[in-house]
Amino acid sequence: MSTPYAKLPAWADYGLIPLINLSVAFIVAGLVVVLVGENPFRAAVILVEGAFGKGTGIAFTLFYATTFIFTGLSVAVAAHCSLFNIGTEGQAYIGGLGIALVCLSLDSTLPWWLLFPFAIVASAAFGALWGFIPAYLQARRGSHIVITTIMFNFIAASTMVYLLVGPLKPLGSQAPQTRNFVGGAELPKLNWVIELFGAKIRSAPLNICFLLALVMAFLVWLLIWRTRLGYEMRTYGHSPKAARYAGISETRIVLTAMMISGALAGMMALNPVMGDQHNVAIDFVSGAGYVGIAVALMGRLHPVGIVLAAILFGMLYQGGAELSFEMPSITRDMIVIIQGLVILFAGALEHMFRPYIQAIFASFSPKSVGMEAIKGKGA
C-alpha cells in the first residue's frame, strides 16, 4: 500500500503535533538549565512572565513578533512555490536601504501617514529586487536558489557596510549608521492598546507595523489560497511537471513568487527602522531572516500558524532577555540554545513524533483519520 500511515484530523495536525514538539523542546531545554545548576521551573516562570507578565513585556514580545511575521511570511510564500528562500535576511537588509533613501529625503517634509506608504513601497521594491536576481538566475540559468540567496545575503551585508560607513553616514559621525530620522519617519506606537487593558508600559517599541504585519498575513492567505497566482504557485510548488502540463510558465512563476517573498522580507525593515531605531544601522536585521525560516516551518507555511509561531519566538526573545538578566548563570548564549532547540524540534524534527501519533489515532478511531476515503469504495 502506498500510504503506510493514515491522515490526521486537522486539529491534531496543526495543534497537537506542534504542542508535543514544543513540549519536548522545553523539556530538553529544561535539562540544559538543570546542567548549569538552575531550577528549570523557576526559569520557565521567569521566561513566560518576562514575555507576558507586564505590559512592557507584552509590547516587546509583539514588537519582535512583528519582525518575525514578515520574515516568516516571506519564507512561506517562496516555500509554497517550492523555493527555499534563505535570502530573507539580505532582502530585509536591502529593504532597509529603500526605507533609508525615502526617509532621508522626505522625513522633514511629510507627515508619517504620507511618508509611511512611500516607505512601504520602497522597502518592498528593494526587497523584491534582491529576490529577483537569484530568482532570475534560478529560472533562466539553473543556479540553485539556496546557494544564490545565501550568497546574496553576504553581498547585501557588504553593500550595506560600504554604504553605512561611507555615503549614508553623516559627516563627522563615528557610528556606522544613517543620521537619525526626524518627525515624519517615526511611526505611531501601539502601546496605548495594551494600556487599555490596564497594563503599564514604560517604554516599548511596539508600533503600527504590527497591524501592517497582520494585514500582510491576511493578504498572503488570500494570495495563496484564493487567487489564480497562488494556485499557480502551489501547483508549481507541488509538481513542476504538472505546472508545465497546465501551461504555467516556470520563469514567470519563479520570478513572481521570489519577488513577493523579497517584498515581504523588505517590509520587515519598517518595524525596527521606522518603528524603533529611527535610523538604519549596521546589522539591524540581526538574524531575523533566519528566524523566519523556523517561524515559517513551525507555522506549517500557513499565515495563522506563522503569526502564532512569530509570537512564540517573540516570547523567546523577550522572555529570554529577562531570563539572562534574572539568572546570570543563564547567559545570552544559553537563550540561543533554547531557541535552537525549539527550531530543532518544531522545525527540523517536525515529523519525528508524527508516525506514533498517527498509529495511536488510527488504533482509536479509524474513521477520524479518513480511512473510508483511502479504501475508496470501488471505482
Partner: protein, 510 residues
C-alpha cells in the same frame, strides 16, 4: 497433489488503519506454477513482501516445506530457498551480469575466487534452464527481457527452489513474454515452484496450474486454471461481471483534425526518441498507438501536447499550423481545443496534494468561468467539480477530499472528466487505464467511444495491446521511435506483436 511448498495461514497485515491483508490462507503446491491475480491495491504485493521478508505480518503463520518459519529479512527468505524477481529490476546498471549475480553473495573479501566459482556455476544454470546470457555483458546494454533473465539467474544462483515473480511481463514484448513463459515451464519441469503475480488474466490462463484471486485485502477464491475461465476470474476480481470488450459501432471518420508530418523529438540527452513520424487523426475516429513502453510513444504525446519541444515537424490542429518546436505551450494548445490526458497522472495530470476540486481546474484555471478578477471563484469551481463528480461517478463524491486519497481509477476519472468536459476537438490520451481497476476500465473505454461518436478526434497511446485492439479504429505501431506499421482493428495480436518487436522493421532495413 504434491506436497505444499509454501503455506500461508491466517496472515494479517495493517498499515495504520489500512488492512492490506486480512486472514489470508494460501497453499502453493510444490512443482507448480501458481498465479495470484487481483486489482491494484488488492494486497498481492504486500502478501509477497511478507513472504520475502520486507514486511512482518501482524499475525499468522508461514510454513515452507511443511515447517513453520519466521522470515524477518530477505536473507531469511533466501536461506529458505525463496527467490524474488521484482517488477522493477534490482540490478546495478553498469555492472556485468556476473557481477550482478554474485552481488550480496560474495564469499570472500577478494572477488577473484568468487568470480571464478560463480562463472562455472552460472554456466551450469544457464545450460540447465535454457537461460542464455553472456556473463560478461554489461546490464545497461542488455534488452529488458535479458535483464529479467539475470534477475531469475540471481535467484537460482542463491539456491531458490521457490521463485516469486511480480508482474514480470509488464515491460516485455509479446515475444519476450512467450520466451519467459517457456523458461518458467522448464523451471517447473525441473521441480521448482513458481508464484506469478499479475493482473493480466491471459497470462494466468496460458501458464499457471492453479490461480488465486485477491480482492480488497482478502483471498476470495482459488481455482484450478483448467477449470476456470477468464470471465469467472475477472468477476471474482471485481466482484461483478464486466465486459472485457467494449461494444462500439462503425466509426464515421470526418475531416482531419490533427495532422502530424515528419515529427522528430529528442530527449534531454539528445537521443532521438521520435523519428520522422507522420499520421493523421480524423474527427470521429480513435487512432491507437501500440508499442512496447519506451519506443517513443511518451515523447510523441509530450511533443503534441506542447510539454516537450520537438526538433522538427509540421503539425496542424483543425487545419491551422502549430509550432511545436518552441513556441507552442500547453496552455495555448488547450485554448485551441486540444485536450490531453497524460500518461503519468500522479506527477503530471494531477497534483496529488490538492483537493479534488482544485485538480478539476488544472490547466483551465485561467478560464473566466473559474475566476473573479484575479481571484478564484470558489463557488463556481465547487459547483463545477460536483457536476463532474456526478457525471463521471467519481467516488468518494467529495470535492474537498485530497486527491491522493482517491483510488487510481477515480483519479483517472478526475483527469478524464476535466479534459472531456471542456468539449475539445482533439483528445489525446496516454495509458487511459494504467493502474485502473477493471470496473473503471469499462467506464473509461465507454467514455472514449462516446467522444468518438460525438465526432471528436481521439488519439490513444497504450502499452496494453488488448486495450488498443478493442478501442481503436486504426492502429499504428511504434518501434524505436518510428511508426512501423498501420493495421485495422481486426489485426491479430501476433501480427501486432511482431511489429512491436520490430521484426518487420528490421527485415525491411536489411
Amino acid at each position: 497433489m504434491a506436497q505444499a511448498a509454501i503455506e500461508l495461514i491466517g496472515i494479517n497485515k495493517s498499515f495504520g488503519a489500512v488492512r492490506a491483508n486480512r486472514d489470508i490462507n494460501l497453499e502453493v503446491a510444490r512443482g507448480t506454477i501458481h498465479g495470484i491475480v487481483g486489482e491494484n491495491g488488492a494486497g498481492k504485493s504486500t502478501l509477497m513482501s511478507i513472504l520475502y521478508g520486507f514486511y512482518q505480518a501482524d499475525s499468522g503463520e508461514i510454513r515452507v516445506g511443511g515447517k513453520p518459519v519466521s522470515i524477518h529479512t530477505s536473507n531469511d527468505a533466501i536461506a529458505l530457498g525463496i527467490g524474488m524477481v521484482h517488477q522493477h529490476f534490482m540490478l546495478v546498471d553498469n555492472f556485468t551480469v556476473l557481477e550482478n549475480v554474485i552481488l550480496g553473495a560474495e564469499n570472500d573479501a577478494l572477488l577473484k575466487s568468487s568470480i571464478a566459482k560463480a562463472r562455472s556455476e552460472l554456466e551450469r544454470l544457464e545450460r540447465e534452464y535454457g537461460l542464455e546470457v553472456d556473463p560478461d555483458a554489461v546490464i545497461e546494454e542488455l534488452p529488458v527481457g535479458l535483464q529479467q533473465r539475470v534477475e531469475i539467474l540471481k535467484a537460482l544462483y542463491r539456491g531458490a527452489e521457490i521463485l516469486i515473480l511480480d508482474e514480470p511481463t509488464g515491460v516485455l514484448t509479446p515475444a519476450e513474454a512467450d520466451h519467459l513463459f517457456r523458461i518458467l515451464k522448464q523451471l517447473k519441469d525441473q521441480g521448482k515452484t513458481i508464484v506469478l503475480i499479475t493482473h493480466k488474466l491471459r497470462e494466468i490462463m496460458a501458464i499457471t496450474d492453479t490461480v488465486s484471486v485477491m480482492r480488497q485485502g482478502t483471498m476470495v477464491a482459488t481455482r484450478t486454471t483448467k477449470e476456470t475461465t477468464v470471465g469467472e476470474l475477472a468477476e471474482l476480481m471485481v466482484g461483478r461481471r464486466v465486459l472485457l470488450r467494449v461494444e462500439k459501432g462503425q466509426s464515421e471518420a470526418g475531416a482531419i483534425k490533427l495532422s502530424v508530418k515528419n515529427l522528430t523529438v529528442k530527449d534531454s540527452r539528445g537521443v532521438t526518441m521520435v523519428d520522422n513520424v507522420s499520421f493523421d487523426v480524423r474527427g470521429g475516429e480513435i487512432v491507437g498507438i501500440a508499442g512496447v513502453a519506451g519506443n517513443g510513444q511518451s515523447e510523441l504525446l509530450e511533443a503534441i501536447s506542447g510539454i516537450r519541444h520537438a526538433v522538427s515537424g509540421e503539425v496542424t490542429l483543425d487545419g491551422k499550423p502549430i509550432d511545436l518546436t518552441g513556441k507552442a505551450d500547453p496552455g495555448e494548445l488547450r485554448d485551441r481545443g486540444l485536450a490531453h490526458v497524460p500518461e503519468d497522472r500522479h506527477h503530471v495530470g494531477l497534483v496529488l496534494a490538492f483537493e479534488e476540486n482544485e485538480n478539476s481546474i488544472l490547466g483551465y484555471h485561467d478560464d473566466e468561468r473559474y475566476l473573479k478578477g484575479p481571484f478564484l471563484d470558489i463557488d463556481a469551481i465547487m459547483a463545477d467539480a460536483k457536476d463532474k463528480i456526478e457525471k463521471y461517478d467519481i467516488r468518494p463524491g467529495n470535492p474537498r477530499l485530497k486527491t491522493a486519497n482517491f483510488s487510481g481509477g477515480n483519479q483517472q476519472k478526475i483527469v478524464l472528466a476535466r479534459e472531456m468536459e471542456q468539449d475539445p476537438g482533439v483528445l489525446i490520451v496516454g495509458q487511459p487505464t494504467r493502474g485502473v481497476d477493471v470496473g473503471a476500465i469499462e467506464f473509461i473505454h465507454k467514455r472514449l467511444i462516446a467522444m468518438r461518436d460525438q465526432g471528436k478526434a481521439v488519439l490513444v497511446v497504450s502499452v496494453e495491446l488488448d486495450e488498443i485492439r478493442s478501442l481503436s479504429d486504426r492502429i499504428l505501431v511504434m518501434f524505436a521511435g518510428r511508426v512501423v506499421g498501420e493495421r485495422g482493428p481486426e489485426a491479430t495480436e501476433g501480427e501486432l506483436g511482431l511489429l512491436m518487436a520490430g521484426v518487420e522493421h528490421q527485415e525491411a532495413a536489411e
